[in-house]
Symmetry: C3
Subunit: 340 residues, 3 copies
Amino acid sequence: MSLVDLHGKDLISTQEWSVEEINAVMELARSIKIRRYSGSVPELFKNRTFFMLFYNTSTRTRASFEAAATLLGGHAQFIDFATTRGAEGEVIRDIAKMYERFGHALGIRILESAVDYVYGMGNATIREYAKHARIPVINMADDMYHPTQAITDIFTILEKFNGRIEKKKYVIMWAYSDKIRSWGSVQDEMLIATRYGMDVVLAYPPGFDIDEKLVEQARENARESGGDLEITHNLKEALRDAHVVFPRSWASHECVKTGLNRFGREKELELHNKYRDWKLTKELADTMDRHGIVTHVLPVFRGQEADDEVMDGPRSVIYDQAENLLYVRAAVLALVAGRI
Amino acid sequence: MSLVDLHGKDLISTQEWSVEEINAVMELARSIKIRRYSGSVPELFKNRTFFMLFYNTSTRTRASFEAAATLLGGHAQFIDFATTRGAEGEVIRDIAKMYERFGHALGIRILESAVDYVYGMGNATIREYAKHARIPVINMADDMYHPTQAITDIFTILEKFNGRIEKKKYVIMWAYSDKIRSWGSVQDEMLIATRYGMDVVLAYPPGFDIDEKLVEQARENARESGGDLEITHNLKEALRDAHVVFPRSWASHECVKTGLNRFGREKELELHNKYRDWKLTKELADTMDRHGIVTHVLPVFRGQEADDEVMDGPRSVIYDQAENLLYVRAAVLALVAGRI
Amino acid sequence: MSLVDLHGKDLISTQEWSVEEINAVMELARSIKIRRYSGSVPELFKNRTFFMLFYNTSTRTRASFEAAATLLGGHAQFIDFATTRGAEGEVIRDIAKMYERFGHALGIRILESAVDYVYGMGNATIREYAKHARIPVINMADDMYHPTQAITDIFTILEKFNGRIEKKKYVIMWAYSDKIRSWGSVQDEMLIATRYGMDVVLAYPPGFDIDEKLVEQARENARESGGDLEITHNLKEALRDAHVVFPRSWASHECVKTGLNRFGREKELELHNKYRDWKLTKELADTMDRHGIVTHVLPVFRGQEADDEVMDGPRSVIYDQAENLLYVRAAVLALVAGRI
């Protein structure tokens, strides 16, 4: 891993890791991917334990991290926070120290819904664990960030464009759904893509602005990398000649900042309903660049965020992208807590 | 494994596998059993992942598959479907593709109760997964079949009769209980036993017929193998000189075909109550062949399906049979998805 | 492991193991601890399975046993009893035999709350499993004992006092909390400490006597080891010059013997409320011996059982103690069911 040493380092947002560090993850991920197909992945996490503490449930994150630990010869424990003493009031420093002593890394997923819907409290909780645990803490999705997903996505985009992604147009489009989703994935995508020199376009209807500070950070990223960040309410315009489109529903600005409990689910869904035409149809997808690809962190709400024709069509890379979660997560585990 | 190559093959019912293929499983199972006692089982599933997706809960299937994966150096993830995005409406093809990309095989358990009690819908759901996943799908019990159990049971019977089971009388008897159980085990037992040349007797009270198409299939199996399939409502007659008896409660024909929700639990239990004397007592067991054995897939409802005297007596092979689940499941994992 | 052979032995209470046997566990635990830091723990449980059956939930016990099995190359299955057929009435002998056939050791946690609050029924249930299973049964905390915790605690005390603990004053103090906790840890601590020659002081308010038979046993232990057992209601007196203090809330004698359901939570908490000053404050801790340490099995109820100043202060060894759970549990698994 050249001169980058990630051992013991927390991964809370991609922004806190240098591009060199993220490149080191991707380099190892690529190597694990190649070796997995040839059947000879080195046991970089042999007999080690990754604790996965879930305040919110998960399908992909649990399955891929656990499979990644297994792939490297170790094990990831799937822990439902509701079944722990933490749920009975044990303080975070005691929980953090306990996992520190028993294992090698601690992953945490905590979205707004688990912390009374105050934006940023999920992230603050993860930082509280990280403050106390001497083993690395890995953010497995919070209300602000989803770093292993973001690295996976840029890894996939690099793969699909043979490493040349500077000035490629990456559209993160708001999409209709009757679900209320966090900003974490969208924000971490925006942050990482602007660091890799992409021309990122955030397209969403009025009222769906995301965290203004992180948008500011992304602008700064773009200035430094030579990329760009544009915000628009014009979906058609946004999609034209796009190289990458990620159609994703997220909660309105007011809802997130007020807290869903106070804001009200009904009221939020009414807002969504006004923009049912924000959907990636085949017609819209056909306005993309000839080589343009469609990504998604999954689950995709088919028929709402995007049509089946698109998600199952030739532009869609969603399953390759999902597969890459395995390699990126394995690489992160190996680098921050493995036998390297 | 001679010339049989099972790599990548789904196991949805035993009927879809040739006798040679099933023999290959049993051959490897036997070898794993011998080697486990000597402590040197080869790591045929080393660092590989088997996903176990449970729409319905499980004791034995989970414990044995997970222990089997561990025995071969890999890992089985126990996934409660209710905690996944599938429960929130993610489509099966997306779930199937995800597991395909992360792991090496996908097991699914889904009984009537998880799919609104329409007979065959559990099986259809598994086939939907199999259609989309390129990794092998293993049926861990549905409303029609329970193939790894069926192979284990024929394996156990072969063991107990030193490989000579042609024309041996195998009685699958309906037995009273206040529980409402699927047809899966019973049907897959009938199918496999008729292929191995046994004289299968289905003994049950009027109204407890199972799937008529599968009965027809079993008759065909018997014709081909030189075995037999007989159906009777006379329990005493059935048990006389039997070599194998499997006392098992199952739901009535009308209940299964109507769907329990519509048919009603009360009404079904009233039907059961009419046949409380359908129990394997010691007296009845004593009419079996001198060397006759009693089997069960477990859990056995003691005092209802059979008396303790029988289940704990010398004819009972239920724990040896349970143990064989470990070897057969390990062999299946190794053959369809392992390093062979 | 000298001449002590623990293979196949149940661990239900420390009292049932000889001091030589407990020493063998601690010797191996020490060796695993040293080797873990150097990265070369031998795979003493390679590809073996430890079943952990939880009637009551757990944080530390599950996390540490599962990490211990992983550390030794094997796997521990986390099983929620509520999801098994046992919860539907499958008898214990059938469950016990099943796990016996699939794996190498069976751990069980069962407190009063899981068995209708009759004192001793949790322990009796574990003994019922042990009677039927030929693989070793490990008590992972019941209503009477918590042996792996007790061994860990004496191991930690030995470590902190460089092996010289005879006649050292070990105060197990009742402490206020608004939770209702079992006697298991307290009783097993008392039993083991009196066997290692410590001067054990049980300090609690009137009405909080624990199991009188086990107190009698502890007196006998002390007579044999040259240690002592004293009971007092005077907390101040007890803490003076103490070498070890364990501040721990537990249920009143009448509550435990009557059963919480009948006795009533309200009534029990009223009793607790009378003794809110039974808390390990810094002021009180400062009356301990200059080298005195504070222990806890965790979770500690901060602000109730003890103040943060104490639990986070220089006397506190709680995280080192927690870490030792990993080594002691690994050693127990290796010795009773491993490749030794």
